[in-house]
Amino acid sequence: MISLKIQNAEVFSISQIPFLEKKEFFDSLIKELDNGLRMIGFFPPDPALPQRLVAILSDSRTSFIHIIGGILDKREFESLSSRFPQVFNFECELFENYGFLPLNHPHLSPVRKENLNGNQPYAFYQIQSNEIHEVAVGPIHAGVIEPGHFRFQCHGEQVHHLEIRLGYQHRGIESLILKASPSKKILLSESIAGDTVIGHAYAHCQAVESLSETQISLRAQTIRSIAEELERTAMHISSLGGMSNDIGLAIASSSYGRLRTLVINSLAELCGSRYGRGLFVYGGVRFDFSKEILKTILSNLKTVFQDIAEIHKFLFSSVGSCVRFEKTGVVSKEKAEAMGLTGQAARSSGIGLDTRIQHPYGAYRYFPVLLNSLSSGDVFARAFLRTLEIEESMKFIFEQVDSLPEGRIKSEISSLPPDCAVVSMTEGFRGEIVHSAWTDKKGALMQYKIKDPSFNNWLGLSLAMEKTAISDFPLCNKSFDLSYAGHDL
């Protein structure tokens, strides 16, 4: 096994990567995947030299990130998707962006584009039978939500297959970041997914800071982590509200809505934006906690902490909601592992995967959080896990606010070194966010890859819908609460 082992946010020189011959490359890739590593990136580091590929794999047991390089003389290779379904989307992306042809791919489909090549309309997966009917939903939906197209193959009320087509929100963020000026880069990373502003800005700043070897003060790191936990709390509350709304439990949904407002308003106290835009700068944060701000935030959070326990109790002790939640949309642990699900969705299926714990970064290196996970893999697990994570996040915030380290909030950043790279991972509220930055000979960014947790988890939603009633789809969808924009980039 020839691979480069690095840690989260550890800068390395591109020349350290062993670039292997095609056969050797795929052999070691298969070996690593067989050992239970998860793929988090598969792309050419230099778009000008597309025959050189790297595969980035994360090992949650050793906290190492493995990087394998390979040189392909032709842009085609034998597909691994049938053996390792988690590679499915990465191979499709490789085909779509760089023209690599994965041979014998089970269902080569566009990730973000309308069709594969040419003007041939895309052929949806279809079950041929007189009794199967097809239901198409979206991309324009009845509610104010993001666009996405869902194609169901149903037998009566039962769904046999769900195909999800995304890409309507594609803005080309990865290439925009390469071209943008430094101040705009942060703005771009903040708008990858509107509800994970902090998670993505954190991953981006961490990538750039690691590349330039900038030291961040502990105070700035703690403020970043507090902001991240505030975001996690707010978004989990809003997902729970959405799920209550989908089962028509008006009282819970409006109460969660009220509490979420209190949490995002706390974030606005700190940085002026309810979603945390403008908080992150290279080298630290732009805004510091004052006594008054801390007081308001603490009093807000105490209200939330007390009230939310009551609503959880109401929601999870109501027979009606338990009937809807339990055994609905089950994703087994084996399937979740095979598909490479991440974050909240993986933890609901009994996989203990949390970047804050396995690849600790920033303040989580010094103040670890507890890992929560449930094993049933149904809507109930995904809902109840959120309540546990909300509690854990709020405890973290209370502890950190109590003992906020002194120090500057911002340090100067130096220029980027040439021929270097970094893999920066953070844990957004949906799961693992991976930003990976690669510089060229002059020290300018030549490749910037982003992986939102939604990239893995949309396939989890398809899995969850198998043999589930079509009327439960909105509830399942909300229980994953995935981002369209984060997937489409």
Partner: protein, 294 residues
Amino acid sequence: MILVLSPLFSGIVNKQKNFFTGRIGAPVLQPYYELFKLFKKETLHAKTASFISRITPLVHFTAILSAAAVLPVGFSAPLISFEGDIILFAYLLSLSRFFQILAAMDIGSSFEGMGASREASFAVFVEPIFFFTLGSIAFITGLTSISSIYDSIVLNNISYLVFIFVCSISFFILAVTECSRMPVDDPNTHLELTMIHEVMILDNSGFDLFLYHYSSSIKLFIFVILETSFFGSLGGGNRVLEIGIFILIVFFLSTALAFVETVTARFKMKNIPQYLLFATAIGVLNLLIFTFTQ
């Protein structure tokens, strides 16, 4: 009176629902504004629709309106009344449903087909409830006209009072299902995959939609009246007292409806038949117990 007052009832339920969730909510008269808005709008038809989709809104509306005519509103005599109009009433409602299902299939959208199949299968379970409540009273009294059935209800002995009360409970379940309210259907949902009734009118607009909305609020009000009328004899023939009781029970029902909609979750689609069979079972047991205790 039904024509004027029925949207008001929907408005009251919505207001109370908002009150329970701590919001201000739309004005009580909002359903009137919405109906007026739809009335003014242009009607568009789907390209795939045949004449069935065009006539259905009118048929639907007329059927419901005629059904309303046999009802005793506020304990006063109905417009039309004859022997056997209970059957007419039940099948006028079925007629309206039948045409709505036809129209939904006619348009040819996959959602509407889904909604139609759901509506048709639940209708099978709904009909027995009706006949085991109102029908069982008819059976006991030997009368077959709705107004005379109601006139014959005299709540003077305990077993009869219990009988009527239990009837009113399964009737409430019937009303909730027929009018597609929670926990069977969610009138406020925007999710086309979970809707039952609402999904069938997705492709209607303007005047047609006005007719649908108007007739569904009339339908809700019809069931409220049927429910209220069980207790008409409590007024003891005094008009003022009767109307007082009428208003009180209507208000009580709207509160009950709003409360149920706030604190219960919607059922799983496959559990709805069980719920409806439960209401039928109540009706059957009720009838048996009453006959054996007499």
